[in-house]
């Protein structure tokens, strides 16, 4: 519950970000086995950018489809199944070479894993919506790129989250985003803001402003809707408006602040103006002289309330979970496919 006390805790956590994240960055560097320099063309073509986006959409589509149906995006029975060619070994893919997930502990026919056992029907409905829309994004990008579309790279939705959980304070060992409603929201939180900032950053790189920019701007908006959905749900849960049956944990907002700080650490902005803000409460002035109005942060934006743009390099840092110039790691243990990797 967002009592004054927990708000204070949030602000203490935020004020300690540098200390926490100094350690976090080191741990991340240690975690990442990747070496070598990422491939980023000096002047990426529109197709390079669309393929870069496609990699991110593969990640999201797999995450949400596993969360909702317990299976891969290309096996979805709920519309817009993708044609990734990945993880087609139905029900036997706890160590799939293409999508690494936890072991299957269910006996439900067709399942790859046990999906999130949602207890809040509204959060379940949001998850199913998001899964559908991310599969549609995969498909529209693949259709657009045609034979130029890259295949799905290997995606890790197991070790990546474990590593992330170990960076939280207090540590959350074996963090499983598929375990329950709140873990799912936190898992989704890790992705969605990144997608928004990635499309934003790409917008100004796109050469064809008549044909490529409009749909890119349209997908950018949809990613922001998804991120707003996740952030407002977390804020409303901490604020006591959204109830999750069976869930008693407080302080979800504080975890989002930490996750945001980790993202800003690996993308290199933490020491200056961090390009990420968690779900928290801060005081604003409105049309008065003093900042005395408590305000939520359901949008991830700068002090002018303008969304962040991330460079391709910064987005790679986050999905590889490492600062510097990694070429693979975390969610993409073999790197992205395509010219931008």
């Amino acid at each position: 519950m967002a009592t004054l006390e927990t708000q204070k805790i949030d602000s203490i956590i935020a004020s300690r970000r540098t200390m926490l994240l100094g350690g976090g960055a080191l741990a991340l560097a240690a975690f990442t086995s990747a070496t070598g320099k990422a491939a980023i063309p000096a002047a990426p073509t529109d197709n390079d950018i669309l393929n870069f986006a496609l990699n991110l959409e593969y990640l999201e589509a797999q995450f949400y489809t596993l969360a909702t149906e317990g299976t891969y995006a290309d096996l979805s029975a709920l519309g817009s199944a993708t044609t990734t060619g990945a993880g087609t070994a139905k029900g036997s893919a706890s160590t799939s070479t293409t999508v690494v997930t936890k072991a299957n502990t269910t006996s439900i026919k067709g399942n790859v894993i046990a999906p999130v056992p949602f207890t809040n029907a509204a959060i379940a409905a949001y998850a199913f919506e998001t899964a559908l829309e991310e599969r549609r994004h995969v498909n529209v990008l693949k259709t657009t790129l045609g034979s130029l579309a890259v295949a799905q790279p290997t995606i890790d939705l197991l070790n990546s989250f474990y590593a992330l959980g170990s960076l939280l304070s207090p540590s959350v060992p074996n963090f499983d985003p598929f375990a329950n409603d709140l873990n799912f929201l936190l898992g989704a939180y890790i992705f969605e803001d990144v997608g928004v900032s990635a499309y934003h950053g790409a917008a100004t790189l796109i050469a064809d402003v008549k044909n490529v920019l409009p749909p890119a701007v349209g997908i950018h908006a949809v990613e922001a809707y998804h991120a707003g959905l996740v952030r407002s749900s977390i804020a409303a849960y901490d604020g006591g408006v959204v109830k999750i049956p069976g869930e008693t944990r407080a302080g979800a907002s504080g975890l989002t602040v930490q996750i945001s700080n980790i993202r800003a650490t690996v993308d290199g902005t933490i020491s200056g103006t961090p390009d990420d803000i968690g779900v928290t409460v801060k005081n604003v002035a409105l049309n008065t002289a003093s900042a005395t109005f408590a305000s939520s942060t359901t949008a991830n934006a700068d002090s002018n309330y303008i969304g962040w743009a991330r460079s391709v390099r910064q987005v790679l840092n986050i999905v590889y979970a490492a600062p510097g110039t990694p070429s693979k790691g975390a969610f993409f243990p073999n790197g992205l496919n395509g010219n931008i990797s």
């Binding site: 029907a121 829309e133 934003h200 309330y305 303008i306 969304g307």
Partner: protein, 322 residues
């Protein structure tokens, strides 16, 4: 590359030109008919599209931000924009809504956001050598009453009545429109820095649109009362009629079945995101389509005022051309 572009062009995405207004064909069928189908004596003629610069587009956006800022600031504090922020024109209606807890925090966030957008756009216009237009006269009282009547909600609607549901419906009227307006404007902007800022503001409008749609959907779910969700959908249908379609109706939460030993959770997907249902790409509106929504005028009419702007917007872009 050429092949790729042709495919994109053939996808039938909502890529209506911000300037041209794809409503032209629809408009042609409406021109010459009044609402009851009787031919009118004076057939309106579409005005010629003005030549627009980045500053003109920013001033168009500034009018919309003024509208949102006045709405949210008045709801949060009871007062509107200071003259230093372009305020001062007559604003009819608007009062402090006594919210608490999470909802008060959200209302303050929304108010601070739109005020910041006003300031950022004014500063950007100035930095480009232009002059930010002042806020035009704004009428909340009659515009919301008129929208409620046209949407079939009832003879009157006051988002400042004091309850959270009425407030959320008021916010719903604006947020999705802002997203579509920025999406429509983005490809027309020539300066990459302006495009960058426009994309960043569009994202924030979409974050907030999602928050509002989320809370309306969730409120109907927990209260088991669809009244306000239905209001939102009636508003969306009105916007669709005025603004060239491009709306996504909110699905109530339904069909939930908990997981069992032999079955996964099932539930009907929600529709929090406003986007096309084939490719999940957000909508873009031409400025004429946006103007018809905020002026509460029909496509194919060319009146430069009405609805929330009784004296029209300020700036070069203020008259619908489709």
């Amino acid at each position: 590359m050429e092949e790729t572009l042709n495919k994109l062009a053939g996808l039938g995405l909502s890529r209506r030109g911000f300037l041209a207004g794809a409503g032209a064909a629809t408009a042609a069928t409406l021109v010459g008919c009044s609402d009851n189908g009787t031919p009118m004596s004076n057939v309106p003629v579409a005005p010629t599209a003005p030549s627009v610069t980045d500053v003109d587009i920013l001033n168009f956006a500034l009018n919309l931000e003024y509208l949102e800022a006045e709405f949210y600031l008045r709801a949060a504090t009871g007062t509107g924009l200071a003259s230093a922020d372009g305020g001062g024109a007559t604003v009819t209606g608007g009062a402090k809504v006594p919210l608490t807890g999470f909802y008060a925090n959200l209302a303050n966030e929304l108010a601070q956001t739109e005020l910041a957008h006003v300031r950022a756009i004014r500063a950007t216009i100035t930095s480009l050598g232009g002059t930010p237009v002042a806020a035009p006269a704004i009428d909340f009282t009659n515009a919301f009453n008129g929208a409620a009547f046209a949407a079939g909600i009832g003879p009157a609607f006051n988002p400042f009545a004091g309850d959270i549901n009425s407030y959320l419906i008021g916010a719903f009227v604006f947020e999705d429109v802002g997203v579509t307006a920025y999406a429509g404007a983005a490809p027309l902007v020539t300066n990459k820095k302006v495009l960058d800022a426009a994309a960043g503001i569009q994202a924030v409008e979409a974050y907030h649109a999602a928050s509002i749609r989320n809370l309306i959907t969730y409120g109907a779910f927990t209260s088991n009362d669809q009244t306000f969700l239905n209001y939102a959908n009636e508003i969306a249908q009105l916007r669709s009629k005025l603004g060239g379609g491009m709306e996504t109706i909110l699905n109530p939460v339904s069909g939930y079945k908990a997981a069992t030993a032999t079955s996964n959770v099932t539930v009907s997907p929600s529709t929090i995101v406003a986007c096309d249902s084939t490719n999940a790409i957000g909508f873009a509106r031409s400025y004429s389509q946006v103007l018809h929504i905020v002026y509460a005028t029909q496509p194919g009419t060319f009146t430069a005022s009405g609805g929330f702007f009784p004296s029209g917007m300020n700036g070069t872009i203020k008259t619908p051309i489709a």
